[in-house]
């Protein structure tokens, strides 16, 4: 299970990287970034997974005494939880930049933005 999701995460990360580097449209580049985010989250979660164990919630199914032998690692989940919310903020920020750039240049092609090139 963790091997399958780990290798999916790696391939997805490379797809996202390829999208970021090879695409010309700014919106497509931002889509590449969101795929990159999701891939990294999948990798982190699958590193914390221990096969055959359940979610880190100590209810009826997992008594408090046996918690150490029955739950998966909760720390990566806590980190990914914050990472997803931040990724939404960053995506929205990038889209706002894209809107502003489109307003000034009236295009979304990344090759047209040469103002900082010399």
């Amino acid at each position: 299970m963790e091997y399958i999701s780990l290798i999916t995460g790696f391939i997805m990360l490379m797809i996202g990287l390829w999208g970021i580097l090879s695409q010309k449209n700014i919106i497509k580049i931002i889509i590449g970034f969101t795929i990159f985010d999701t891939a990294i989250n999948i990798i982190i979660i699958s590193i914390g997974y221990i096969s055959g164990r359940t979610a880190p919630i100590l209810d009826k199914a997992v008594p408090v005494k046996d918690a150490v032998t029955k739950i998966v690692d909760p720390i990566p989940q806590a980190l990914v939880l914050t990472s997803i919310v931040i990724s939404l903020g960053v995506t929205a920020l990038m889209l706002a930049y894209a809107l502003k750039l489109h307003k000034y240049k009236n295009t979304l092609e990344i090759n047209k933005f040469k103002d900082l090139k010399w």
Partner: protein, 82 residues
Amino acid sequence: MILNITAVFLCIAILVMAVIAVIHKKLVIAIIASGVVSLFASIIFLLLAAPDVAMTEAAIGSGLTTIIFFYVLNKIRKESNG
């Protein structure tokens, strides 16, 4: 065993959708494909025993992100037409 087979199918679907999201010419289809990637990723998180993360990904990754993309796309289209 059944979980592993399900995970393999889901992962193949995720990879296909990711490729579509990156290479498709139409922006609308690319955005929807990236939303579908997030939705399937949330199921993967559920299979990896992380229900908190699955809820967050389903609500934020596939819901709000797609809506924000569409608002921006709508705005850009109106600017280029008018």
